[in-house]
Symmetry: C2
């Protein structure tokens, strides 16, 4: 039986440490091809490049693993991979990451890591985004390997429901071992932004976004709870945004 074909992308850019870790792990379970942004794309959400050109260049950054760097967003990378790079074969799995920093709860919306995975799901490909809840550039990835391989293998061999991509978050390396894997819902939480107001050298104002994460969710079945309690969280995500309870609300309450 031939090895599964695994497409790897990310949003921190092709030269980040997290994608190097992910490529090494995926080589153990499949044949790997990389199409990833040539520069960091954090916070890009599900952006795509319309009204502008895209570059795609081969790179030997991963040795004998075929790899391409792209000037676009993570979603662009998956689109280009499918329609330009992998024209004669379809990947068996799309993985994105490992992100430097968590993508739990509301962060899934802003996450370039997850946009690559969701783009996979739109293309009917099994897809997973992996994030390590540690923003440090020297973050320790050593505890992620066994879980990343296990989850990727489960997706390869058991599949996913149509239109679903997985958002996997991994707790930072702590003294205690990881307790296991929890399938979760997205926590109700948000960022309370603050903007630092500063002056540039000419005296003109500019802003830096800052903020605090606020968790409103007291449940124990959500991704924030899992990470806080040293479990890996898996949230199955869909790209159908329809709020079905909103349909009945509007039909009942409004006069249209």
């Amino acid at each position: 039986m031939s090895k599964p074909l695994i497409l790897v992308s990310n949003d921190d850019g092709i030269s980040s440490r997290g994608i190097r870790v992910l490529v090494e792990l995926m080589k153990e379970i499949g044949e790997v091809i990389v199409v990833a942004p040539d520069s960091p794309q954090s916070g890009m959400g599900h952006a795509i490049t319309v009204g502008n050109t895209l570059r795609l260049d081969k790179t030997d950054i991963f040795g004998d693993v075929p790899a391409y760097k792209c000037s676009g967003t993570p979603a662009d990378c998956v689109k280009l991979a499918k329609h330009h790079v992998l024209t004669s074969s379809k990947p068996d799995l799309v993985v994105s990451g490992i992100n430097h920093g968590g993508n739990t709860s509301i962060s899934v919306l802003y996450s370039g890591t997850m946009s690559a995975a969701i783009e996979g799901a739109i293309e009917d490909l099994p897809a997973v985004g992996f994030s390590l809840c540690d923003y440090a550039s020297e973050a320790d990835f050593s505890h992620t390997g066994e879980y990343v391989k296990k989850i990727a293998s489960e997706v390869l061999y058991k599949g996913l429901p149509k239109g679903v991509a997985l958002n996997v978050n991994i707790p930072p390396k702590r003294n205690e071992n990881i307790k296991g894997i929890k399938v979760c819902r997205q926590a109700r939480a948000k960022w309370e932004e603050q903007f630092d107001v500063r002056r540039d050298p000419t005296g003109r104002k500019y802003f830096w976004m800052a903020g605090n994460f606020v968790n409103f969710d007291r449940g124990e079945d959500n991704d924030e709870w899992a990470i806080a309690n040293n479990y890996i969280s898996i949230v199955p995500c869909q790209y159908d945004l329809t709020a079905h309870h909103g349909i009945s609300f509007l039909n009942d309450q409004w006069e249209l």
Copy 2:
């Protein structure tokens, strides 16, 4: 009773025709303030500006309507409006658009117009994104006014469920009058991308994204059907992406 405070944003940029139409309409029902991107942001999805600075400058482009142009994305505009511009008052309504081009079905994911509205919902503000299904720069907006005002007024006076923003699409101006408003679900459809491969003046390859829209949905309760049949579509959208059916799938089928 004081007039409701209405925050207007968009993704085509502050100088586009669609936002001018929306500002004029909102002035009829409330007090208006504009915070919008200083340049086109189409396809930005739910991108935010992290790791980079933001500019925000007052402009008199709308006469006596207070207005600010922002160097960031539509989501940045709503965040800056809430946390920096409107620090002493909370908008009663956030509206985004009117977009030059449709944001039905899967396009909601890539839509900067809807990201401004969803950002409103995250901030617990009633919010609506309006899009006209006509990409032409000279598109006729004359049939949109009565419906845009009606929907904005319904949201102001009847409210929306928590965490829900509305995705409103308006058919292009046709010979026949609009038949009415339909509350819909997001259609199952996608873009089949193609990439035009070209050469720059130095001979280096570059790509333009192109593609065809493919609708897999045969239902009559979705937004594509509504637009094709000359109805305005309203899809209530949520930012909780959890695929709850995926949770039971993983718990039943996987060995974790």
